[in-house]
Amino acid sequence: MISILSVEIPYWGQTTFRVLGGLAAVLLPAGALVYIYLFKLMSFVQSRLGPMEAGPAGSLQLLAEVGKAFQKEDIFPRKADKLVFAAAPFVVLMSTFLLILVVPFGPDAWFVNLDTGIFFALAVSSVSVIGILMAGWASASKYSLLGGLRAAGQLIAYELPLVLAVMGVVIQAGTLNMQEIVYAQAEGEIFGISGIGNPFIITQFIGFAIFLIAMQAELTQPPFDMPVAESELVSGYMTEYSGIRFLLFFIGEFATAGVFSMIASVLFLGGWWVPGLDPDSNLFNILGPAVLFGKVMLVTFLIFWFRFTYPRFREDQLQKLAWKVLIPLSLVNIVATGILKVVF
């Protein structure tokens, strides 16, 4: 029987807790990212104020946007494949909820402690590609079709560096389990110095950089936004979606950005653990989610910083970066990490 904070809870109670926690863990970071970064930071980067009217400093703008989307008419284009068109948002959001499962929030606070951990996460993260292809194909629009095809080409190209960058962390930690990866960082040492443990960002810096770039591309955030490129493809695979269905894709995009950042924080920044504290203390069951959220905001700051400052990559440049730079580099990184692991 699993106990949270040393209290015995029946299985249905635990499951309810987990479902509520999962909803919070997916939706709250997504909302925070959209308001703090997409609304406010983007405005400041572009020398404007951003939303100011709804609530203090525009903090209720998000509610206004959601309320607006709820009232919009639901339009299915006459030529669209109705069933697939309607199913696509379900697939995209389901992939996000499966992805959050393996993220640990504290020594006892986790949804499910799978031994396949990071492998499971990488597997289900590709499910959203199917949703995007479904949306692009079913819309029966030229823009959507091109957007969907570009998305497929980009997502398969950047999935490889993403998977291979994780391999360095797996070699160092010696496990695929996300919880044990956090412990490996908390109890690790860098060449005999154990003061701050071993957050893998220090020993796996190349892996972290590759993971971050590949993550940016997997999330189709600018500068890797060829699939949605609003100046040429209107909105890519989302062109024909209106109102609440468009909002669902939008939520999916930012929720996935939040969840991917959580995975990056767990793999490279030590997850819920902070240097100097005992990872087994019960304190982390309370403090852990807050620590993880702080690290997520750090990682997403980098993502959005790149998003606001770099111009869009051309399709050929994008493929060149993945196949000719990131994949060879990550393969070399794996071998180098393996040699260092065996020698030391």
């Binding site: 009232q71 284009p77 379900f90 629009s141 080409g153 797996v170 794996i334």
Partner: protein, 121 residues
């Protein structure tokens, strides 16, 4: 039920939560939104002009070679994962074996590169 199956029950439940959330959003929206379809609204969007031709037009899929390479490297990743998590036990032998494996795959990538397959034509 064993703990192993229980943990995958949570996986199924979370998949269901994702679907239920989308369903709830669509359900609430269906109570609030108007529905006045017209011929123009149901048209495919093509920058405001009348759409021409078949919407499922033949497109030049330029990256089928990339897709083939992807399958190759993805299978490689599946082989590397178990090796990576057991490297401490395998030691130098495992390292040399994997170095040869990765070298052969890199050779394949170099071959595709030299053949001009990695160029976006």
């Amino acid at each position: 039920m064993s703990d192993f199956l229980r943990s995958y029950l949570v996986v199924a439940i979370f998949g269901g939560v994702g679907v239920a959330l989308v369903g709830a959003f669509l359900g609430i929206a269906s109570l609030l939104r108007p529905s006045k379809p017209s011929e123009q609204k149901l048209m495919t969007y093509e920058s405001g002009v009348n759409p021409t031709g078949d919407m499922w037009a033949q497109a030049n899929i330029r990256y089928y070679v990339f897709a083939l390479l992807f399958v190759l490297f993805d299978v490689e990743a599946i082989f590397i994962f178990p090796w990576a998590s057991r490297l401490e036990a395998l030691g130098v032998f495992g390292l040399v074996e994997m170095a040869i494996f990765v070298f052969i795959l890199l050779l394949g990538l170099v071959y595709a590169w030299r053949k001009g397959m990695l160029k976006w034509v």
